[in-house]
Amino acid sequence: MPDAPERHLPHRFPFLLVDRVLEREPGVRVVAEKLVSASEPYFSGHFPDRPLVPGVLMLEMLAQAGGFLEAEPLAGQGIFLAGVQDARFKAPAFPGDRLRLEVRFEAAFAGLTRINGTVSCESRELCTAKLLVKKIAP
């Protein structure tokens, strides 16, 4: 089983949004998991009486899961989100949900990579998007 996400991603609390990597084939496909806790900091405001995971955070979860497509740890590498295409939010995520984050490499050209991502919960699709990731040579 792969190492803890902190070993690979530079993100930290409260913005490390991947709890576990379940399957990983660098350059091809990653399946990761995020357990949505009732104590996520944003729930106090989004929304006070009706906690929902913000859609943009689902995109960030996919971006972070996409980081595991890289064979090497990301710390020290210049990798940035460059674009989001065709994002769809089909259903909300709630406290207690176990989110499955699946990302797949689609194409790369001139330092830019496009990945396809899906957030699902119990086989139900919550969010799909294509993410563009820019890698800047060190």
Partner: protein, 85 residues
């Protein structure tokens, strides 16, 4: 107009969402990136995918991309040369 060139232009308009543009408004010789159509690196990736999916031609690396993206004429010639190859 050359049929393949016409299809290349239609693909450019569709894939890059050059809304309101018609094929005959795209200059055959103008560079696709920078000046000319003013495309950026995100468009380049979209274009690489569009060329592969529409014409079955793969642009493997930046060097061949730079050659192919010089102009519509260059891109048409590139596709013609690599189609069925």
């Amino acid at each position: 107009m050359d049929d393949l060139k016409q299809r290349v232009k239609e693909m450019l308009i569709q894939r890059l969402k050059l809304e309101g543009m018609t094929p005959d408004q795209i200059d055959d010789q103008a560079p696709l990136f920078g000046e000319g159509l003013g495309l950026d690196s995100i468009d380049a990736l979209e274009l690489v995918l569009g060329i592969e999916q529409t014409f079955g031609v793969k642009i493997e690396d930046e060097t061949s991309g730079l050659q192919a993206f010089k102009s519509v004429d260059a891109l048409t010639a590139f596709i013609r040369e690599h189609q069925g190859a």
